[in-house]
């Protein structure tokens, strides 16, 4: 009986193999001829008939009647509001350039993109925030952009947001967003100049029984309380000489930050600010006239307007009269091009030639409810609140996009919560936060002293040479500020350096300086070598036996 089934099974398998294998060929066959053969056809409809390159729209409009098959397709992932605008552009774009625009409304664009792009299933363009670029570039998912002469039509800060440390631009901005300082115009006649003045005004209103609090904080005051912190001189990351962020300089326990936290804690003790921090609560209290001030972003404008509370938006108060106003974080929204796109040049041209125009930028502004990043649109901003918010963001601090920023939020939030609720003295809370952030940035190997070099495989059995994380070549702490380790290394000539925390981020060369030159080690015979690292001089000494 089984014997009968065997040939049957064989026939069955062969049939199904043939049938099954035939099919996958078809999609390829239909795909292949698209770009090349279309191009060979006479495509006069696409040729530019006149001299003016800057305004192709009118010139190109008429001859498209004969076009049936689009020459190419651009896929865009956008959130719901942006998608609506872009969909509206698709028809005129197809008519003008014979290029199809496919706009897909995607939520969680970033998370989807990092999965889809490496599989070649991502869109050509994504719409998102500038602080995505750090990790997306590190993962190799973004293509650089060159706006050419168009760059001068954008605000400097917005371009800076999309400029990576290699000096290249990785996104084309269209809008910026930052917090503004709201005050209730019925209660407050003139905007306060300093934070202390604002709180005094609040106290008077409280005494008069008009409000419950001067101001409420929307969430643990990290992002939402940043304008207070910057007014007093607090910061997150210091800047290197070239303007890039320095993750080794964390300003969350700086003098200014502690002054700001001490100030806020005093206000909480005085009952001018509630000791619970919640976005919804803070907004509702302001909208119902229970607080006089609010720090809020453009995303809250709609609900504040709907509440009917009389308000005005202005720049943030300073720490002292005449001082620099508090600076909010600046986020930049923009378009980014997928490095795996087959149409990188087309995607770039779409952005620079079509989107970077006054008309399109104006539409993005009208639906987006954010100050535009495009100078001509920004100058014509007719929403006074948005214009005021842009002014409040004039000295805004770009949200750092370096991956180290991911290590900051949690510890920062805990630190300010502990400081403001009085669980810990302000200084202790902020010092703890910085220690936590440093530990996260340095990673699991914090404290390791290693001697990465060409000797590691031969002398320490490491998996590879020049590995600052290899556990077997790490030195042990002598407890007196020096670290040492002894290894038997075969004869030969080697090079090495000193590296800390299991990474190359902090490493010292033979001059005892960061990123200095390699040490050389010549061994005439197999020897036992002791490396000793001095934590003060950052130098490595070697004894050979």
């Amino acid at each position: 009986m089984n014997k009968k089934f065997l040939p049957l099974l064989a026939v069955l398998l062969i049939v199904s193999l043939i049938l099954g294998a035939c099919q996958p060929a078809t999609p390829e066959a239909t795909q292949a001829p698209r770009p090349t053969e279309d191009m060979a056809e006479p495509t006069e409809d696409m040729a530019e008939p006149t001299e003016d390159m800057a305004e192709p729209t009118e010139d190109m409009a008429e001859p498209t009647a004969g076009a049936v098959v689009p020459d190419a397709t651009i896929r865009i992932w956008a959130d719901d509001t942006r998608a609506a605008v872009l969909v509206g552009l698709a028809d005129s774009f197809l008519a003008t350039y014979n290029v199809e625009l496919v706009v897909e409304e995607v939520s969680g664009i970033r998370d989807q993109f990092i999965i889809a792009a490496p599989q070649n299933e991502g869109p050509d363009i994504i719409v998102g925030a500038h602080d995505w670029i750090g990790s997306l570039i590190a993962s190799g998912l973004l293509a650089p952009l060159d706006l050419g002469a168009k760059a001068s039509e954008f605000t400097d800060l917005s371009l800076q947001g999309f400029t990576y440390s290699d000096g290249q631009l990785y996104g084309m901005p269209y809008a910026t967003e930052n917090l503004g300082f709201f005050y209730n115009t019925e209660l407050i006649s003139e905007a306060p100049e300093t934070w202390a003045e604002a709180m005094e005004m609040g106290q008077e209103l409280m005494d008069a029984g008009q409000v419950s609090y001067a101001m409420a904080l929307a969430g643990a005051p990290t992002y939402d309380g940043f304008p207070v912190q910057t007014a007093f001189g607090g910061y997150v990351f210091g800047l290197n000489a070239d303007g890039s962020w320095n993750p080794n300089d964390i300003g969350l326990n700086s003098e200014g930050e502690i002054a700001a936290m001490t100030f806020l804690r005093e206000q909480i003790v005085l009952g001018r600010i509630p000791d619970s921090f919640d976005w919804d609560t803070a907004h509702t209290l302001f909208e119902t006239g229970e607080t006089a001030f609010l720090m809020a972003g453009p995303w809250a404008l709609e609900r504040i307007r709907a509440s009917g509370v009389p308000y005005a938006v202005t720049s943030f108060p300073a720490a002292e009269p005449g001082g620099e106003p508090g600076a909010p974080f600046l986020g930049v929204q923009g378009f980014m091009v997928n490095a795996f796109s087959e149409n990188i040049l087309l995607a770039q041209a779409f952005l620079t030639e079509f989107v970077a125009t006054h008309e399109v930028m104006q539409q993005l502004y009208l639906t987006g409810n954010r100050p535009s990043a495009f100078l001509s649109v920004l100058a014509a901003t007719d929403d006074l609140d948005l214009a005021a918010m842009d002014v409040a963001g004039a000295n805004a601090v770009l949200m750092p996009y370096i991956p180290e920023m991911g290590s900051v939020w949690g510890a920062w939030g805990s630190g300010v919560t502990l400081a403001l609720t009085g669980e810990l003295p302000v200084e202790d809370a902020m010092n703890d936060a910085v220690v936590q952030i440093q530990a996260l940035i340095q990673g699991a190997l914090a404290g390791m002293v290693n001697i990465p070099g060409s000797w590691q495989v031969a002398g320490a059995g490491c998996g590879s040479d020049w590995d600052p994380a290899c556990p077997t070549s790490a030195l042990t702490d002598n407890g007196d500020g020096t670290w040492s380790g002894t290894f038997s290394i075969p004869a030969g000539s080697y090079e090495y350096k000193a590296a800390l925390d299991g990474s190359w981020a902090v490493n010292y060369g033979s001059d005892g300086l960061q990123d200095g030159p390699n040490y050389a080690l010549e061994l005439a015979a197999d020897s036992s070598v002791t490396f000793t690292y001095d934590g003060d001089t950052k130098l490595v000494t070697v004894t050979i036996e």
């Binding site: 089984n2 089934f5 069955l12 049939v15 199904s16 099954g20 996958p24 090349t36 191009m39 006069e44 696409m46 040729a47 530019e48 001299e51 003016d52 192709p56 190419a72 350039y97 014979n98 990092i114 490496p118 990790s135 993962s139 190799g140 060159d146 706006l147 509630p274 000791d275 619970s276 919640d278 609560t281 149409n343 990188i344 040049l345 087309l346 770039q348 041209a349 779409f350 030639e353 991956p403 180290e404 991911g406 949690g410 805990s414 919560t417 502990l418 609720t421 669980e423 202790d428 996260l440 699991a444 190997l445 914090a446 590879s464 040479d465 020049w466 190359w504 060369g509 990123d515 390699n518």
Partner: protein
């Protein structure tokens, strides 16, 4: 003989024609299935999903074997279930285990091959190289001519593929009149393209214009330049060599790294052994609050099960009395918390407990002049969480206890009453032991579920309030799963799937061990029931 055995397969008493038709039907099903599955497998392999194709092949073979071998007939009924289990449970488990031994995450998303291709496609402009603005012209054959303007000195050239550049002027080589921007309106035989029309040809950036020794490539809508590859790959060293300065970047755990620690982006997925696991256990930053979190995790899960089981049982006993008025209505109302999605319930409770605006706090403030700081004090936060979870889970226990109570024979109670047992003794000696036989495994399931009740903790309070002086960010109400979620996804440098997978496996081992241990207790209860 053969008819006989066929009858055996198809079931006793069927006629031979029925046997054959049932066999044909089965073969037909197999045929259709195989065509479909081989189509799927071929596509998966074509698209490069090699790992995913393995479980699909396994399912294909399994289904064929089960349908074609008579002895395996009983398994046919489970074939669909087992197939889905392979695809959606076993494969993801293997995948998770594999990921736990890699550095998959932000910065290491690409496979090595893709990353190398990506790196090799990076171009740079050498110092002596020239950059131009370009305008493209195309003839009917699809050949391109570029009109180049040097960005530094403004001299102009015509460039064709593989030919040396020629200086250009109006009237030479068919170049027509210049427009206001100094670009020829047309070149004889060629039509001028605007940037977008030119860019619609994906091949254009690949074309090497000019002298083969010194080629010019288009790199952006505004620039064409004498670009050369930034890196060469050396397969023997497994290293990238920079064409700009000769630096060698060796592969170090998924990142090409130079001897001075400079790296080439992007990195790629590399297996890194036990590093993710050792990082979790060795890092002092992570060890800090761990014991505390595990302690609260157990307390939370056990207290939740005890309180919700206790309340559910109490209500069930209450309503077990047949004479209770409006029994059905009240019982239905008590089930309401169970029917509303937990997500919504949690957010509603969060709103009600809001210290400034919440109805609970306002009422308490007005009535007794005190409202608990639910979100800022660690003990009140823990109490709040237990209250919300009690609300969410007592109806479940009320339901199953009601059912289990019905199944306890009333004679037992009558006998006990005759023997003079007090109500407490009846409950303690009869109701509880018999109930636990039925409900015991569900208590364990509930414990396991609550041990990993991420939704509640994360949505209600986000793990807060923070623990003072901890070596890493953690909250008083953080349970293991919410704590490691923060570590793996929002606490570090972007998303780290490798580390997250490693932690998942560790949690699985912990929960698995607890469950195994508890099932031994259920065995004990079963013995009780046998004795009854």
């Amino acid at each position: 003989m053969s008819t006989l055995s066929m009858q055996k397969i198809a079931g006793k008493g069927d006629s031979p024609s029925a046997v054959i038709s049932s066999m044909l039907l089965r073969l037909g099903v197999v045929l259709v299935f195989d065509v479909f599955i081989i189509y799927v497998i071929a596509n998966l392999i074509r698209l490069g999903y090699y790992t995913l194709s393995i479980p699909v092949i396994a399912v294909a073979i399994f289904v064929n074997v089960v349908l074609l071998i008579a002895r395996l007939a009983p398994i046919r009924w489970m074939a669909i279930g087992i197939s889905f289990m392979i695809l959606f449970t076993i494969y993801p488990i293997f995948f998770t285990v594999w990921v736990a031994f890699t550095n998959y995450g932000d910065g290491h998303l690409l496979s090595k091959e893709v990353a190398i291709t990506q790196i090799l496609s990076q171009k740079f402009l050498p110092e002596a190289g020239k950059a131009y603005t370009w305008t493209a012209y195309r003839n009917d054959l699809g050949d391109y001519v570029l009109y180049l303007v040097d960005t530094t000195d403004g001299s102009v050239f015509l460039a064709r593929e593989g030919e040396t550049l020629t200086e250009s002027a109006p009237g030479v080589e068919g170049v027509g009149e210049l427009d206001a921007n100094g670009i020829p309106i047309e070149i004889e035989g060629y039509t001028r393209l605007n940037v977008l029309a030119a860019a619609a040809d994906p091949n254009l950036p690949e074309i090497l214009f000019g002298d083969p020794e010194n080629t010019i490539q288009i790199r952006s809508p505004s620039e064409a330049a004498e670009l050369i590859s930034l890196y060469e790959y050396d397969p023997e060293l497994d290293a990238m060599v920079s064409n700009a300065d000769g630096t060698v970047y060796r592969n170090l755990d998924g990142t090409f790294t130079s001897q001075t620690g400079r790296t080439v982006i992007p990195g790629f997925v590399a297996t890194i052994g036990w590093t993710n696991f050792t990082n979790f256990f060795s890092s002092p930053a992570l060890r800090g609050p761990l014991i505390r979190i595990i302690g609260w995790n157990f307390a939370f899960a056990i207290l939740t099960v005890l309180t919700s089981f206790g309340l559910g049982l109490a209500i069930a006993i209450f309503f077990n009395d047949p004479d209770f008025p409006f029994k059905k209505l009240i019982r239905s109302l008590l089930l309401v918390p169970y029917t509303i999605p937990a997500l919504i319930t949690i957010l509603i409770w969060r709103g009600m407990m809001n210290p400034e605006l919440g109805v609970i706090n306002r009422t308490l403030q007005n009535l007794i002049g005190f409202s608990p700081p639910w979100f800022t004090d660690q003990w009140w936060a823990k109490i709040a969480i237990l209250i919300v979870n009690l609300w969410l889970s007592y109806p479940y226990f009320m339901l199953i206890c009601s059912g289990a109570l019905q199944s306890i024979p009333t004679e037992l109670y009558q006998a006990a009453e005759v023997d003079g047992a007090s109500p407490w003794q009846r409950f303690r000696r009869i109701t509880l032991p018999l109930l636990l036989v039925a409900v015991g495994p569900l208590l364990i399931a509930s414990f396991t579920f609550n041990f990993n009740n991420f939704n509640l903790i994360y949505l209600f309070i986000g793990g807060g309030p923070p623990i003072a002086g901890a070596s890493t960010t953690a909250g008083h109400t953080d349970i293991l799963i919410s704590y490691v979620y923060n570590l793996a996804f929002s606490g570090g440098r972007g998303v780290n799937y490798g580390f997250a997978s490693a932690i998942t496996i560790i949690i699985f081992l912990v929960v698995g061990a607890i469950t195994l241990y508890q099932f031994r207790y259920t065995n004990m209860w079963e013995e009780v029931s046998e004795n009854v």
